[in-house]
């Protein structure tokens, strides 16, 4: 699904953000990306979203080499991703419904599709009753759930959450990660960048630790490179993290209320980006059409 092959990124000001990073993330995996401030986590996400281009090496998503992706095709790549921001990035003047609908409208979905899909996704994140509320009337946890609904509404294959719990209370952080786990259990690949060690330990998923632009540990490979000095003890914390969770649904999670609707592609639009295989959903997932 996502492959980094000897990827390095140096910014024009000379900062070496990533240095010869190689890793593989499978479809349906749940991965925590951890590391100190300035370690290179944001650059890692920006490269996946094609906001930045690798200085050397190759990034392959769904078999598509990003270095060869034309600029005009970048939007089509992004339609396979849902982004959750630390600061929610909700539009204050819009109510909850419109904030989520905005993501659908931005890719040219019809208003009929919007009216059908948005209430459904808001129901998934438990906010159906707050559709008409403004973001300022919601708690931090609720705002983040709106942000998550917006990321989900276009049925992405990958959810990228950049510090999703950074601006909310610890008890609500658990709730957000629980939601992300449920989404992952339906086959969606989830990447979470976080600082919260406790949460990472609690959720027992694959952990990739980045420090000074290098992957210094990856629980999937049980690899630790202790020759690197790092400040906040990430390697010590995660070097012996449990083996990565399988890309299968968590049997304990009640997913009956979740949609595994297949990724929609706007009809009639050119789709130069090759989506590859769609997520494989388990038998106990109820597929509710849009």
């Amino acid at each position: 699904m996502i492959d980094f092959e000897n990827v390095s990124k140096t910014y024009p000001n000379g900062t070496h953000a990533l240095n010869n990073v190689s890793l593989h993330i499978d479809r349906g995996e749940f991965v925590f990306i951890v590391g100190a401030s300035g370690a290179g986590k944001s650059t890692f996400l920006k490269l996946i979203m094609r906001e930045e281009i690798a200085t050397s090496g190759e990034i392959i998503i769904n078999g598509n080499k990003l270095s060869r992706l034309k600029k005009r095709d970048v939007p089509y790549l992004r339609r396979h991703m849902g982004i959750v921001f630390q600061d929610f990035r909700l539009i204050d003047k819009m109510n909850v419904f419109d904030n989520v609908a905005f993501a659908m409208r931005a890719v040219g979905e019809s208003s009929a599709a919007v009216k059908k899909r948005v209430p459904y996704v808001l129901d998934l994140v438990g906010l159906k009753d707050k559709m008409k509320d403004k973001p300022s009337e919601l708690s931090g946890g609720e705002q983040q759930r709106v942000s998550l609904a917006r990321a989900l509404v276009n049925n992405p294959e990958i959810i990228i959450a950049d510090e999703p719990t950074g601006n909310i209370d610890p008890e609500l952080s658990h709730e957000i990660l629980e939601l992300l786990t449920q989404i992952n259990s339906m086959g969606t690949t989830v990447l979470v960048v976080t600082h919260e060690h406790e949460l990472v330990r609690e959720f027992n998923q694959r952990v990739i630790t980045i420090d000074k632009g290098k992957v210094i540990s990856d629980s999937a490979e049980e690899m630790v490179d202790l020759s690197y000095g790092y400040d906040e003890g990430y390697a010590e914390t995660y070097a012996e993290a449990p083996a990565p969770a399988p890309a299968q649904p968590d049997a304990d999670v009640d997913i009956s209320s979740f949609s595994a609707a297949p990724a929609e592609e706007p009809a009639g639009e050119e789709e130069p980006y090759d989506a590859g295989e769609q997520p494989q959903y388990p038998d106990n997932v109820v597929i509710i059409p849009d």
């Binding site: 089509y76 990035r89 979905e109």
Partner: protein, 300 residues
């Protein structure tokens, strides 16, 4: 394009949100279009007058006042004797008075009649207009000829003024177009700044550049269309007012073209110019934004 209606609606929303800047843009664009239109209409009228004068090969030759009717007839014979003169019709002072009465009205005429401004004259029709200047010289050389009403000279003066006005207009309009573009681009940039969150979200979910751009282009074009409509109205009012003044002052001597004859091409030109300026204003300002990604759009 899917969602076109939504994009157009967003464009109109932008206009309302930034109404002060929108009004400023419209005012500048209207002044630009009105000036251009006024210059164009002036030029069209001057061209019509000049071509009318040039087509008209009739020239009035005034006889000195101290010459009697017999001498005047002799002068007429001399004029007719010139090769390039087709005919010379005598217009006596009293006939000229009657014509003036008709043109000026009794009241106005009464005020000037004591000054006895009129001469006996000949209306001379010239055969070959290419030899016009030589013929005029020959007529002027005849003893007893006071002056010649050379309308061609007037036409030439008018053309010179028209060319000057056109030159000044081009310079002023060029400056105003640049100012309009700048103000519209800034209006749209202000819209974009207030909507930078939306733009960054649109880009992150995979909106194409065309989709992001569309509401801003709609905003620019609507500014152009409104300006074109207002400019057409303003030019119509201005034109009718000037026409009234000229008609009162010059009577039937200068014919001002009716506005109805020019309104369609003028309105179409305004519309095209307004839309183009609005479109490019929007295009220029969003181009810079579209190159940015993620937090750069938010200025972080």
């Amino acid at each position: 394009m899917k969602g076109f209606g939504y994009l157009v609606k967003e464009g109109f929303k932008n206009i309302y949100t930034n109404r002060i800047m929108t009004i400023a843009s419209i005012c500048v664009l209207v002044s630009c279009l009105v000036l251009t239109g006024a210059a164009a209409l002036f030029s069209v009228n001057v061209t019509a007058i000049v071509s009318e004068v040039e087509k008209n090969n009739e020239t009035t030759v005034y006889i000195l006042r101290d010459r009697g009717e017999i001498e005047a007839k002799q002068i007429g014979s001399q004029i007719e004797a010139i090769d390039n003169v087709e005919s010379a019709v005598f217009v006596s002072k009293s006939e000229a008075v009657e014509q003036y009465k008709q043109t000026l009205g009794e009241q106005l005429f009464d005020r000037i009649k004591d000054k006895d401004p009129l001469n006996d004259a000949y209306r001379v029709v010239i055969k070959d207009l290419e030899k016009y200047d030589d013929t005029v010289k020959q007529i002027k050389a005849i003893d007893g000829v006071e002056s010649i009403n050379d309308r061609r000279e007037f036409a030439q003066k008018l053309s010179t003024i028209s060319n000057l006005v056109n030159l000044i207009s081009i310079a002023v309009v060029a400056a105003l177009i640049i100012i309009s573009l700048f103000i519209i681009a800034n209006t749209i940039r202000a819209t974009m700044y207030s909507r930078r969150f939306e733009i960054s979200i649109m880009k992150s979910v995979g909106a194409t550049n065309m989709f992001v751009r569309m509401p801003f282009l709609v905003e620019g074009m609507v500014i152009g269309i409104i300006s074109a409509a207002l400019s057409t109205g303003a030019v119509a009012l201005l034109y009718e007012a000037v026409k009234r003044v000229i008609t009162e002052a010059a009577g039937s001597w200068i014919t001002v073209l009716p506005f109805s004859q020019m309104v369609v091409p003028l309105a179409i030109s305004f519309l095209v110019a307004g839309i183009l300026v609005g479109f490019f204003g929007g295009f220029i300002s969003i181009r810079k934004y579209l190159k940015k990604e993620g937090n750069e759009i938010l200025g972080w």
